[in-house]
């Protein structure tokens, strides 16, 4: 039974990825703007336009941009299947290489942020949800609520101005200063990472906190919690064995979604702190109309989302016997 569901979900995921590949192609191909302008650069383009417009057409042919849309789509599908994502219009470098390099740095920022926030938000939310209206709840909830009302880029900018520019505690931008090796470089990267990490952790913690708090405060009212207390379990055991276990399914689902979205999730923070990850890559690619780059980024992001959705399902399957037996009332 579970095996069949699993296979079904896997097939569904593949279908979703295929849809996204298709959508990717058409979404980006229907955007206005002449990609040739960005392939050869603005100055050169205007120059050629005057002196040798046929060269522009030649380039168009070289990149297959003069073929019919259907043909272009088939070519694109074939290439995607072979993991050939082509070269960047802008830098001419192989797209996959660039994307993987940038992905590494996004993950370097996003994984610690997600993990830290998962534990921090979870623990704090558990505490606040267990004692709603308590002193901790009253102090923490407004703080986290406020954080989630500030646009990410604004908070990031304020952090940048305050801690990096005015106080000078942190470097302005980038991943590392360059010219360093070994341990010194590691420290330097940590130093560069502190501010963007802090911003990401704050946001993720606040949303995790809210989720955990509301889940726990609902579970708290469940009869089985009273039962557990009536058995004489200590508070810690009630929380860990009964409350947390029941809160885990929705919480893990949400954390998995965060993991799934992490490739694009830190975009604004990356842009503000010039962190050379996927977010800045996408932004630059949008500005440069670097279609192959955009398509590859979108594809990877989507695969990541789909994969982690699958993982979330698996985790819930492991935690919740009701899901295991295919019943339709989770949550």
């Amino acid at each position: 039974m579970a095996k069949r569901t699993l296979l079904g979900r896997l097939g569904e995921s593949v279908l979703i990825v295929f849809c996204i590949v298709t959508l990717n192609f058409f979404l980006i191909r229907f955007m206005p703007g002449d990609p040739v302008l960005h392939i050869i650069g603005e100055e050169e383009y205007y120059n050629l336009e005057v002196h040798a417009p046929q060269v522009i057409e030649e380039i168009r042919g070289e990149y297959g941009l003069n073929q019919s849309l259907g043909r272009q789509y088939l070519t694109y599908l074939g290439k995607t299947a072979r993991l050939d994502f082509g070269n960047s219009y802008r830098t001419k470098a192989p797209v996959l290489e660039t994307v993987l390099f940038r992905m590494k740095w996004t993950l370097f920022l996003a994984i610690p942020a997600t993990v830290i926030a998962a534990f921090l938000g979870g623990a704090l939310g558990l505490w606040a949800g267990w004692k709603p209206g308590g002193r901790f709840d009253l102090a923490a909830t407004p703080c986290f609520l406020l954080i989630s009302t500030v646009p990410t880029n604004c908070l990031a900018i304020l952090f940048l101005i305050c801690f990096a520019f005015q106080l000078g505690w942190f470097p302005i931008s980038g991943i590392t200063s360059g010219g360093l090796t070994g341990f010194a470089k590691g420290l330097d990267i940590l130093h560069h990472m502190a501010l963007p990490l802090a911003v990401l952790v704050l946001y993720k913690t606040s949303s995790n906190y809210m989720l955990m708090k509301s889940t726990v405060s609902l579970i708290r009212q469940e009869d089985y919690v009273s039962t557990a207390i009536s058995k004489g379990l200590s508070q810690g055991k009630v929380l860990s064995r009964h409350v947390l276990k029941n809160a885990l399914c929705p919480y893990l689902t949400s954390i998995c979604m965060q993991f799934g979205g992490m490739l694009a999730g830190s975009m604004m923070t990356e842009i503000v702190f010039s962190w050379k990850g996927m977010g800045t890559l996408i932004y630059d690619a949008v500005n440069a109309k670097d279609f192959p780059m955009l398509q590859t980024c979108f594809l990877l992001i989507s695969i990541c989302v789909v994969a982690f959705n699958l993982i979330a399902d698996l985790l819930c399957l492991a935690v919740d016997p009701r899901v295991r037996e295919g019943m339709n009332h989770v949550g």
Binding site: G133, D223, Y224, S230, K231, G232, K237, K245, P321, R322
Partner: protein, 307 residues
């Protein structure tokens, strides 16, 4: 062993959810509290176990073998719960954790209070289940609560309550939401608990008749009568008790007055809570009567029996 004296519970600034309840449960004695849904029966049990939210203020005393449970610290209370008093929640509700196996949950108190290993606790849980003749108890122990029927679940929870061997059992509406046949199974389960004292709240008079030795009647959060089962069914004193009995099918369903408590705002401040419905009401009843002792250990809250 348990003596409750003038116990009242109030939530925040609202009116009392439980008001002035006095009763006692002797060794191995079965006491049943009857009253309509919403009369505050369950709150009473939770109040004694100190399981109400912080917003509740509890007054009065609840002496367990001489110690007032209401004054114990949470840590001390943890040693009472499950060990001295076990609690059986409503089977129709979510009283069992959906994510843990039945066996684990039945055996859980043993792990805490007797430091048994999981395996030993499980074996004891199976033994406890066996007391109630489920059949295929090992399999049942491995099952999850959502696969059980309401009656099964209720009996499993009774097993959970007795597995540890606590001398006093609190049961909350054990027959709620069950059909006749399943009620019989639950009654049967209760009958097997000869060694335990039981304080059970229910709205089901038939169930009370099967199980109780002593009865307490609650009306609009207030205890109105306290007597033996026999006395109650033979000769109920309070008009509300009489109305309840009259409403039983074998007595002809004579319930034309309707006896659910009226809404709070339509009650007369300070008057007897049954004033609006009472066939005997007179001017004296504009003042709420205390519980009058009327001999044989019976008590009743009505001006007709005292002055």
């Amino acid at each position: 062993m348990l003596d409750i004296e003038h116990l009242s519970v109030r939530f925040g600034g609202a009116s009392e959810a439980v008001s002035d309840i006095s009763l006692s449960v002797g060794e191995k004695e079965k006491v049943v509290l009857v009253g309509e849904t919403g009369s505050g029966k369950s709150v009473l049990l939770l109040a004694i176990l100190q399981m109400l939210p912080a917003s509740a203020s509890v007054s009065g005393r609840a002496l367990l073998d001489g110690t007032d449970l209401l004054t114990l610290s949470p840590r001390e209370m943890n040693r009472i719960r499950g060990q001295r008093i076990s609690y059986v929640p409503q089977g129709s509700g979510n009283g069992m954790n959906p994510l843990l196996s039945v066996g684990y949950q039945v055996g859980e108190p043993l792990m805490i209070h007797q430091n048994l290993s999981k395996k030993e606790a499980l074996a004891r849980a199976v033994a406890a289940l066996r007391r109630f003749d489920f059949g295929q108890e090992e399999k049942l122990a491995r099952q999850y609560p959502h696969t059980l029927s309401g009656g099964m679940r209720q009996r499993a929870m009774i097993a959970m309550g007795v597995a540890q061997g606590a001398p006093l059992l609190f049961a909350d509406e054990p027959t709620k939401g069950l059909d006749g046949h399943r009620i019989e199974l639950v009654v049967d389960a209760f009958r097997r608990l000869e060694d335990q004292a039981i304080l059970c709240v229910t709205h089901d008079l038939r169930f009370a008749q099967e199980v109780a030795q002593q009865m307490a009647v609650l009306y609009a959060s207030q205890q109105v009568e306290w007597c033996s089962k026999e006395a109650f069914f033979r000769e109920p004193l309070h008009p509300y008790s009489q109305a309840m009995l009259a409403a039983l099918p074998e007595n002809g369903l004579q319930a034309e007055t309707g006896f659910a408590p009226p809404r709070e705002d339509s009650q007369l401040a300070g008057a007897c809570r049954y004033y609006r419905r009472c066939p005997w009401k007179r001017s004296r009843c504009r003042e709420n009567p205390p519980l009058f002792p009327v001999g044989d250990g019976r008590k009743v809250r009505c001006w007709n029996y005292g002055s």
